[in-house]
Each structure stands twice: as structure tokens, then as C-alpha cells.
Subunit: 307 residues, 2 copies
């Protein structure tokens, strides 16, 4: 693995910045609470013991109001709560957060703000989108996008290749136990915060929560995800202010439309040297010859049909 990583990098070493491959947050697949060994049988009737991910309910409160119960692997409940509320538009840009109280035994998180909040009306009507943005009224969601225009940052293809290679080789719950989604906040060719969860929107919300907590800028970041580039994923990324979204997976037509409207650079079907860019082609800087990029190491290729 090490030789291959070096080989990948040699090919475009001149083009990338120094390899600072330390994640700020990376998955910890061996954290005991996150997986459980379960016994069953295999196709031959022999005992089979496998590692499966844990799912736990986490009930999120905003001040005195119960908002939602999210099923999560439970690694970053505070970030999940903050990011969820922020991405649903219930926490505002200028809100002063006075506390984020996680009670493990009650499986709840309470986010408290200076501002008095009340979302009775908002909670009434829901949109089930392809990934279920609970709490977002469809009309509100599209309205929230009006006037959103992301900064036209250039995207070097060397960054994309470096990120994909680095992320695909990072130990993760996915590689250990399957059945999970990952999303990574990146800066240029460096992955920063890699979050996983059973629900992809949880992974993205945890990133949003971390960004909120650490007051991290969005306009110079790239979001890399394992999942499909649906309209909901595109909208979420745009609302977070991140101007580049990349994935191994495919697109939906509406996702592409929205990306083009808000100026999001959208790259999908990233496998080995291949990718397709359906929004922001003009912002791509081709600083590396694709033929020098190693094709995927099959061992590290993400397994089929994990959804």
C-alpha cells in the first residue's frame, strides 16, 4: 500500500502541495462503541462472526423544544446536533450558542441559544427528499437557495486525485463493517474532517457542526462524499457555502441543474483517473495528466451497493 501511494504521488508530485496527510478528524473504526460483533451462519451453515455498525437514537432539542430523533453511530452527538439544526435553518449564522449539552444516558443533546426559538410551524410540513431532509419544508428549501451564488474557486484536478486516493485508503468503519456513508471536508489536496454515519446526511451534518464549532470557513473547501450527488446533497453543500462537491457516485438531473444555478462545481463518477464534471467545467484546472493517475486498487475499491 505504501509503495503504491508513493507511486501515485510521484506521477504528479510537481503539481501538488506538500503532502500534509494528517486528518483533523478521521474515522476510528476500532472505537468499541461503534461496532458490535454479531454471530450468525454463512452459506455453508458454518458459524460466522461479523462486525456490524451500531445505530443509536439521538434526540435533538433546541432550547426547550424537541426537534427530531436521529439514528446515528453516536460518535459525535454534539456536532450532529449543531450541524443538523444549522443545516435545517433553525440555527442562524449569528446565533449565540450558550450550551451544547449531551446526556449519554438519556441519548439526548440540547442546544441552547440566547435567542428564543420556536419552530412549531416549520415542523408541521416535511419534505422527504431522496435522503430525507427532515424539518425542511420543500418551498423553504428552494427559497433558501434563491440568490445563493458560490465563489468561483478554481479546482485543480491534482487535488481531486490526491483526495480520492487518500480517502479511499483511510481506515474507516466502512472498510471494517460496511453499511455506512462517509463525507470528507477537504482543503485543496488535504482531507481535514472525515465523518461517517449510517445516514449520509448525518455525516454531512456532523461536518457542518464541526465547522460551526471551530468557526471554519466554507468558501475555500471541497466536500467529498461516497454517495450520490442528489439534489438534496447539492442543496445542502451549497447552503453550507462549500463551492465544490465530488463523489465516486453518480448524479441526478436536478442536482446538476441546481449546481449550475448556484455555481457549485460538481464532479462525479470519480474512479481511478476517470471522472465527469457536469457543473463548473470552466473552473477545473487540469494540472496533471490523467493517464499518470493509478487505476483503482481493487482491494480498496469501495464495495458494491453499500447504501
Amino acid at each position: 500500500m505504501l509503495a503504491r501511494t508513493i507511486g501515485d504521488r510521484e506521477a504528479f508530485q510537481l503539481a501538488t502541495s506538500e503532502d500534509r496527510s494528517d486528518f483533523i478528524i478521521a474515522p476510528d473504526p476500532h472505537a468499541p462503541r461503534l461496532t458490535r460483533a454479531v454471530e450468525g451462519v454463512d452459506q455453508n451453515g458454518e458459524r460466522s462472526r461479523i462486525s456490524v455498525v451500531e445505530e443509536r437514537p439521538l434526540t435533538i432539542f433546541l432550547n426547550a423544544q424537541e426537534i427530531v430523533t436521529a439514528m446515528t453511530i453516536g460518535d459525535y452527538p454534539e456536532y450532529l446536533a449543531l450541524g443538523f439544526l444549522r443545516n435545517q435553518g433553525m440555527l442562524l449564522q449569528d446565533d449565540r450558542i450558550t450550551a451544547v449539552d449531551y446526556e449519554e444516558d438519556l441519548e439526548t443533546v440540547v442546544v441552547r441559544t440566547l435567542r428564543q426559538t420556536s419552530f412549531e410551524d416549520k415542523l408541521k410540513k416535511k419534505t422527504r427528499t431522496s435522503g430525507c431532509a427532515v424539518g425542511t419544508v420543500f418551498g423553504d428549501m428552494m427559497e433558501g437557495l434563491e440568490g445563493v451564488r458560490l465563489p468561483p474557486v478554481p479546482v485543480r484536478t491534482s487535488w481531486l486525485y490526491a483526495l480520492a486516493a487518500r480517502i479511499n485508503r483511510t481506515p474507516s468503519l466502512y472498510l471494517e463493517a460496511g453499511a455506512i456513508h462517509g463525507t470528507v471536508l477537504c482543503h485543496e489536496d488535504r482531507p481535514l474532517v472525515y465523518m461517517e454515519d449510517v445516514g449520509r446526511h448525518n455525516a454531512v451534518d456532523k461536518i457542518a457542526g464541526w465547522m460551526l464549532q471551530t468557526d471554519t470557513s466554507a468558501g475555500d473547501k471541497i466536500l467529498y462524499t461516497t454517495g450520490r450527488l442528489t439534489s438534496e446533497m447539492v442543496i445542502k453543500t451549497a447552503m453550507m457555502g462549500i463551492p465544490v462537491l465530488a463523489s465516486r457516485s453518480g448524479f441526478t438531473a436536478w442536482g446538476v441543474e441546481i449546481a449550475r444555478e448556484v455555481g457549485l462545481t460538481l464532479i462525479g463518477r470519480m474512479r481511478g483517473q476517470r471522472f465527469v464534471c457536469l457543473s463548473g467545467e470552466d473552473r477545473l484546472v487540469r494540472d496533471v495528466d490523467p493517464s499518470t493517475v493509478a487505476s483503482e486498487d481493487r482491494k480498496h475499491r469501495r464495495k458494491s451497493a453499500e447504501a
Copy 2:
């Protein structure tokens, strides 16, 4: 492909019923409304024209009340509405449905019942599960499961292998355009209704809607899905009364627990001859030698990380 299919079947022909491989409903990947050709560039900067799935909002009403807006590929709006409402517990077993009115230009479906309905309270509190069961209060969801005990039907492994082989070779939007989930209602070794959608829960709800419309029994059926066997998927299957759930993908711990509690036979990680059964091992009937089952044809293997 044909030779391979025959070869697969020869190995366990004695064990299966006659190959009635006609689906009642199968995907129609070339239906014009479901995909769109979109242009962009590839890694070499060359124009790339690819087929991507359409997503459309569909607003579902129950009588006079707007319930949710679902993002869907839009092939079976009536089944989606019926199945969604049924699976959310808003349509009851004995409800008399008087109309299902789909208005294409308004992108709405109204389901009308004899019974007066009102779900103000139910809509207030939501659970975001791994796949977002909008409208289901978490406590209600777990309560709804209390006392559920599925019929202990035997499951022949020959059926599972036949289904997987048949389904993986069926032309689908997935194979055409990616970015989509499929779930198939089956009986023994015969796939019956294969639904796809951008959101997996939509695919399952469409099946539930079809079952409701056609008054199809659940206790003798198998549900085969491309996605992970999360708690939500297990709960949904159990609430639909289907006693067997199978997937190529992995498990979550809670999904396994719930399956065991309600007596659901749970088979995952089905690839080629391999699988793992974590619930209902005693109900498996091994009527075929796994070594005679062909390993996966790589061409037909579902692509990585489509979520």
C-alpha cells in the same frame, strides 16, 4: 449471459420450481421521463454526454391535508402515495380508499378515504432515521413493532441465489444511469415487482402501495433490496408483514436485534455464493450446494458506492 444463466440453473434445477421469470413490474430504464442526457466534460477535458436520473417533487395529500413532498423519479406516483401513507401508519388496514388522484401538472397525489383523517399531532414530531422515515414518531415506530411476530416461513437458499442472479441481470435504471436504489418483492424464486427510486424508502413504499392496490399477501413474500439492512429497513419490512429480507449489503446491529425480535429472516452480504444470515438461521433450507453457484459476473456487479 444466457449460457451463464442456464449454467447457474442447471446446478440446482432439481430444487427450484419452474423458472417463471416474468416480472409483474420491472424497471423500464428507457422510459424517457426517467432520465435525461446531460453534457459536461471528462477527465481529459473532452465533452461527455451521460444519462442521469430525473428527480421530481411529488406532494402527497391525505384527504385535505398536505402530508409530505417526496423527491422521486416519478414513475409510480399513485403507488408511492399509497405506500408511503400506509407505511407511515396514516392509512390503516381497513381504510376504504375512495380515490387516488394524481395531477401531473401540479405534481400532487391526493389519496381520499371514507374515514375522516387528521394527523396534526403526528406530523409535529419527526424521526430522522438512517433513511429518514419522515412522519414517524420514533416512539410510535418502536411501539408499532410491539407484538409483531412474523410467520416462520422456511427460506430455500436456492430461491435466494435464483433471485439474486435474476435481479442482478435485469435491465434497470441503476445499470443505465446509476444513482438509484432498487427493491424487489419476490415470491420464492420469482421476482415480482421491482421498483427503483432515488430514495430507497420510496422504492419500498411503491411496493407497499402496489401490494395495497392489488391486495397482495405479504406473509409468503421475500423482499430483496440493494441497500443496507438498517433498523429502519428492517422495521419497514416487518411492518409490511414480509418475513424475509435479503440484500447484497451489510447490516447494522439494531437491524439485527429487531429482526430477531420480530422473527424476520435476515440475509445480507449476498455476493455470488456467499451470504451471511444473522436472524432466522433455523428457517434456512439449504437445498443447493453453494459451490455450484456461479461467482458474480463482474460486469453485472453493482457498482461501488452508489448511495
